[in-house]
Subunit: 199 residues, 4 copies
Amino acid sequence: MSPRTEETNQRIREEQRQHILHAARKLFAHRGLIATKMTDIANAADVSYGLAYHYFKNKEEIFTTLVERALDGTVSIMEQARSMPGTPLDRITWLGSQMLEGLKDQPDYTMLVLQTFTSEAVPQRLRERALEQSMAFLDTLRQLIVEGQEAGQIVAGNPDYLASAFSACMQGLAVGHTFYGSVYPVYPDLNTIMHLLKP
Amino acid sequence: MSPRTEETNQRIREEQRQHILHAARKLFAHRGLIATKMTDIANAADVSYGLAYHYFKNKEEIFTTLVERALDGTVSIMEQARSMPGTPLDRITWLGSQMLEGLKDQPDYTMLVLQTFTSEAVPQRLRERALEQSMAFLDTLRQLIVEGQEAGQIVAGNPDYLASAFSACMQGLAVGHTFYGSVYPVYPDLNTIMHLLKP
Amino acid sequence: MSPRTEETNQRIREEQRQHILHAARKLFAHRGLIATKMTDIANAADVSYGLAYHYFKNKEEIFTTLVERALDGTVSIMEQARSMPGTPLDRITWLGSQMLEGLKDQPDYTMLVLQTFTSEAVPQRLRERALEQSMAFLDTLRQLIVEGQEAGQIVAGNPDYLASAFSACMQGLAVGHTFYGSVYPVYPDLNTIMHLLKP
Amino acid sequence: MSPRTEETNQRIREEQRQHILHAARKLFAHRGLIATKMTDIANAADVSYGLAYHYFKNKEEIFTTLVERALDGTVSIMEQARSMPGTPLDRITWLGSQMLEGLKDQPDYTMLVLQTFTSEAVPQRLRERALEQSMAFLDTLRQLIVEGQEAGQIVAGNPDYLASAFSACMQGLAVGHTFYGSVYPVYPDLNTIMHLLKP
DNA sequence: CATGAATGAGGGTTCATTCAT
DNA sequence: TATGAATGAACCCTCATTCAT
């Protein structure tokens, strides 16, 4: 009865959605929600802008979908780091490697979360969730650091300072890579960064 | 006829300019060039939007003025760090303290430079200058690090990695403070950050 | 190869056409040509919007088909009233009963004709025809009224006024029923309305 | 301090508002909320469409303002008819004369209320208020008719039918005048219409 | 110097219509 | 016959900017 099978349509839909999301990610990461035009997204995805509205209610929904994906990723890593076996240093090292890898592969996602804070146009709900997640992340990190200090594996000092510095470093790398990664494509290795926390 | 002396007018002009610039800084830092509306700036500065056009040709000029001010500040610090007397570590430490202080007092300026990269609306010239400056800053930092390593004051390792990590840390702090400084107002002290470079 | 006979296809075609027309009628009557979306029509008819274009060239054609059907109905009644035997009052009474019945059964059709006047999107030709028909109807009515007055069956007075009032009453009932028929489902009987014309 | 006095601005604002409302009234009455474009309103009012947004939040607000004005007018007439001295017939006659006059002067307002029912775009609140008002009006009318019947001044018969027919007649005149008033500019006089209710 | 009325380019979004399957 | 993916014209609205006062 159906001219294209339902299955085919399903596949097309899913592919196009991902296609558009992928194109939007880079743009949102670089320019933010407001400064990114739907036309830009459509052009980057090589579809008409009308089609984008076939798949997403509006620009905000594309943005929100992406940011939630990013937040989910962070949550997942955080939970693993908290619950995994090993010494505190092992776990912080694992966490750091995950983050650094994420930054290298997709610095966009980190920038997206930051963009969440830069515009009134972002739905309040999303901004709140992003903020909570960020705070939760710092908390987890601080907790691991305290444990590490107790085990003598982490340098002494205010754990808030250490968590803040470590996290800032990661965040700064994402920002840096997004904006001058093409001109200065240097990524420090994990050792360099972990040195921040070593005794 | 005129109840105001020319001098008074001069003073008023200058005060209003600064007033508007000051109001615009926070807004641009948080929202970027495009998402910041002239009305917002005028409201924040408590003047009519028409008046803003007496003092600045357009929105771009306000933005440009602010970014150039920020870049000039960076250049000045950089040059001092390069030419000042003392051991390499002394000079890096001084540079770090200047940056950290700047971030605490006015994280806006750092964000402004980042915003420069986020929008096509920014004049090409300005973006180029900001990029050059950023690269020059990393270069200076790397140079000091190399000198410090030769003097045995800085930890061994790829100086590019070290410079990149150190710089990312500072940048990350600015971003973090701008966006969740009000919720998580923790600033690491200089020692914590300098630990990144210590042997 | 084809499991369906040509005849069956014929029947399906005709049924679907009527189905779509029926669904469109209510929507057009309530919302007008522009505010009624093809998607709405398709949904109401329980077909895909693509299918609607198999049966009709475009939205305008659906609207036009419906309005013409409405106008044809009016013409037919008018002609019968003009040519039927009986006293003038008999014929006016018959005309009134036909109208009232039509309004009760399908107030949509009357509204459709009104909608014809509300939008530039309606083809000029159709609007003109609707206007002509309306004028012709008033003319016929006035003619019957004059005859009735001569026969002493209709109250004295300006026949234009009488025709206009009588016609307005009918039109008003259609409008009223369409828009608050569900809240105030009262229909006056023919006697009440005919009283307008009785001596 | 102010270049134009506040008073002057006040006046300009008020004049322009009325100007735009006036232009919008005819258009909304003829075409409804959705089919009336802001550009049309602006053109009719001889201002840029941007200016319309200086004075009204959006198209809906213009429409709402007009409809509320119309409803207020109806309420006022209704209340006067209910509370004024005189016999029931006197009061119905006064009510009829007010309505007929209103229809002649500004059939637009009556059409506006009808348009309220034709589009989902109209705020629910407004539609509800319009419906209530319409029902209240019919109620008032029916009440007066009952009193008139008791006084022997109104023809016997179902008062709901009488009220409905009388009201339909008025409404139909507004519709008719709006849509073919220019071609058939006949208005029945009050006597013709009142005959509907006379014994 | 200061205000805010006025303009219109530009961007978000809707929806009629086409067309591959 | 039937579907819905895809396109783009057209409309709503925002906001940078101009200018009369």
